[in-house]
Symmetry: C2
Subunit: 203 residues, 2 copies
């Protein structure tokens, strides 16, 4: 079966710097989440998409009788997280982070504006979290945004610069990899909804 | 006061083909919605962002000691609507459409995949709609996705290729332009939630 993205673009496996660290599969967390989102979409379980990378376009050529070509553009820093969508009436908002670290998740993987965005989404009653992969350990967690924010604030007050794995185990929800979807993060979302850790509805 | 986007980029008014048709303000619907979203964000009322335009990147230069430069890229067709976010626990999903037409909204402004996306979001309990501007009439409506889908299906069965203004008036919610936010679409969202036209919560 040829895989296609929802927009009809064929799925092309992108080479990635982290490929060698996840050699058994050869897929980055982003690629696996895209496949998982596609599975959830086709199964009618959730509508979640990765946002396109924001690009600052400087120069575009418009050749006659053919497609416009962008000739000069720059990557911009995203102001939000990468993934959002809707699941059973809930607003989902999350980012995906990989670390090669074996004992903790370094907070430098997060931008302050992403943390601020997560706080705003929680304030509006969204379900907000990180999907964290410990690449070398082959372990993936759903980690609540409320805990991310707490660790980030502690760091600002001179605390640890990383979240110990033991705390991620205690405060998060470990996902067991499976065939379909590869990253079954909705099980972590169900856990968040049940425990109300990830946010409550506004009304 | 200098306006800035949430990502810290200064707000630069873009020249636009429709500027001449909206000469009194000189802003496209997209620009006005971006300002409205920024207002809602800063006021803590909703978290809604326009998704970046999807780009297929073909060639990138990495000059030493400077920023990566995209040298060849192409515009891709978005597979979803342009705007989504969270408001009081509700998932919002919408697209912005302008028409110079004075008597009806041509359905050719909508791509079938956008309509399919709106149906999927409704199925998941999202609040889904179009913001339609009649440029020459200076009138803006919030129009429920459920009605959009019904008109689209009628067209497929040989029906009208456009939605008459009278039906948009009857089935939609007219927004009265104001200073802040310029496009007060949350009033239309409140109407959608009340009338349950735009979708109901999954649980």
């Amino acid at each position: 079966m040829a895989l296609h993205y929802p927009n009809g673009q064929p799925f092309v496996r992108q080479p990635s710097a982290s490929t060698t660290n996840y050699a058994s599969r050869g897929m980055t967390l982003e690629e696996e989440l895209n496949l998982s989102n596609q599975y959830y979409l086709e199964a009618g379980l959730a509508v979640v998409h990765k946002k396109p990378t924001p690009i600052q376009i400087v120069k575009v050529d418009y050749p006659k009788r053919s497609q416009a070509v962008i000739k000069e553009a720059y990557f911009r820093t995203p102001s939000t997280t990468d993934y959002n969508g809707v699941y059973q009436g809930y607003y989902l908002d999350f980012d995906a982070k990989e670390t090669k670290n074996k004992t903790s998740f370094p907070l430098k993987n997060l931008h302050p504006h992403q943390v601020a965005h997560m706080q705003r989404c929680l304030d509006q009653g969204g379900i907000c979290f990180l999907v964290i992969r410990f690449v070398t350990l082959h372990r993936v967690f759903v980690f609540p945004a409320s805990n991310v924010i707490a660790w980030f604030q502690q760091q600002d007050q001179g605390g640890r610069k990383s979240i110990p794995l033991a705390d991620i185990e205690a405060q998060g929800f470990e996902l067991k990899p499976q065939l379909q979807p590869v990253i079954p993060y909705l099980t972590g979302v169900d856990w968040l909804i049940q425990t109300k850790v990830g946010g409550t509805r506004g009304n």
